[in-house]
Amino acid sequence: MAFKDHRDFFEVLERESELARVKKEVDWDGEAGAISRKTFEKEGPALLFEKIKDYPEGYRISNGTSGTWGRVALSMMLPKNTPVRKIYKEYEERIDIKIPPQIVKKADAPCKENIMLGDKVDLNEFPAPMVHEGDGGRYIGTWDVVVNKDPETNWTNWGMYRFMVHTKNWLTGWPQSTSQLAFIMKKSYLPYNKPMPIAVVLGTDPLSHIVATAGIKTFEDEADHVGGLRGEPVELVKCETSDLLVPAHAEIIIEGELMPDQIAPDGPFGEYPGYRSGTMCAGAAVKVKAVTYRSNPIVTMIALGTPPDDSSIAASLTAAVAMKKGLLRHGVPVTDVYVPPEGVTHLIVIGVTKGGAETARKVLDYFTLRRIMTNKHIIVDADVDVFNMAEVLHCFATRCHPGRGILYEWYEGRSNSLTPFYSPEERKKLKGVSVAFDSTWPPEWEKEIVPIKASFKTIFTKETIDKVNKNWESYGIKI
């Protein structure tokens, strides 16, 4: 049975020794973020801070609930030690199944246990963390699901975008200008100078958060795909101040309007590429009209930074599967795609059945066609396990010709301004460049000249391999 919310999920995490409850009082101002960062970097458990300075008993902060492959597996109701390849496969199979959400009544929605409306709204009543010292503000929206809707098509978009507390009843945030939220705002609200209703959701079921990071196609509702991934519908309830539907079991729902003609500073923020670079003061402002929340609410946080953390793990999974499907549609003979968490979606590994310059060009074209989040693409032959970075590195080092195997594509207006190596000027104009490293044997080479990999599986006859495997124990070699 799927998890309804984070609280259900905490029980399983605890049973699997994947959750630490921190009972000592911690300061929301840097300390919770620092503990979380250190825990990530030591590959530690998810955290639930149960006593927060300045806040009443019961008000809590969590971190890292999807920060390892083991915890992602558990969120998908798979065993904790499921191999990454199997998690990818399972996600790939389930994500295309659509199960529409179920709408529940307000009385059945735990997120409505407490309601702040209008001038009673006070975001300072929640332990929004100062995640990193020197961030632009207290980021209440990090591991969140932000809901917004296109009134022209009825498409409801879910995405994960950062939002910080500006004042007690204003948020500022930075959904990228190339995001689906921005697409809806620019298409259906800005031309009419209308504010756009949004809802920032904290602490719903774990798979909703993971899918919020996914590249689900435009005009497709993420909630349907979450239902498919869970095997049962997500329960949604109507907002207090708009027609948006939000997860009924969420910890906190912040309802507001993204303003078309009023702006205020957001950022900087230590972001998913693992740096705090200069993206600030170029976001959006939200007037908050209501906050509804469960009793003893939990602010679900990720102390974003150097990988791995929830962001790099979740994006690895969701981005890779979306990319594989997209590449296949684009005519690339893909075997598999791996997004190593350490590459923070800047570096992608693509396995193909037929390599060469034409395939490399198709790969690069696919990744630079529209909104561009990645920049380095290593294309490998089918004999390389894309999930094995040692094999990938060997392949890259030995098959990518520096003179003819590296393709570039420059662009403007659609790059990822969070990319740390872009200059301020490049970030402002969304200018960038992507590269494909063709690490495949040229398909036009005759078989006789293609180097044979000197590995156990490839440079010995089948008879020798079978003989060695059959007699392995008798050699007395302990490995």
Binding site: D29, D54, Y55, N124, E125, M130, H132, E133, G134, D135, G136, G137, R138, V165, H166, T167, K168, W170, S177, A182, M185, L190, L258, M259, P260, D261, Q262, I263, A264, P265, P268, G270, R276, S277, G278, M280, C281, A282, G283, A284, A285, P424, K428
Partner: protein, 101 residues
């Protein structure tokens, strides 16, 4: 002395005199880091101002300038400036300052 914080792109962007700023309240407590949008007189030296507060400057990557500035708040403004989402807020503020002369 109250302490505030503001962000600029480069430390050298901060100039003395009358400035329009978004400043964050560094007073301890639940409302720490809450933002005010103000017209203020800013100086590198506290001697130039009467009963000033401290103003810390941070650059666009969040790095803190080693030495504080000082400010006196002349007027509080609305929480926002006019502009469209994804436009540069600091440029919008600068434009308003130029309009004020």
């Amino acid at each position: 002395m109250k302490e505030w914080q503001t962000f600029v792109r480069r430390f050298s962007d901060m100039k003395e005199g009358k400035r329009e700023l978004f400043i964050k309240d560094l007073s301890p407590g639940k409302a720490k880091y809450s933002t005010k949008h103000v017209l203020a007189t800013v100086s590198k030296s506290q001697k130039n101002l009467q009963n000033p507060d401290i103003l810390w400057i941070r650059g666009e990557s969040g790095e803190k300038a080693p030495d504080p500035w000082y400010l006196t708040i002349e007027q509080e403004l609305e929480e926002f400036v006019p502009g469209k989402p994804w436009e540069d807020v600091l440029e919008a503020v600068e434009k308003r300052e130029r309009g004020r002369g």
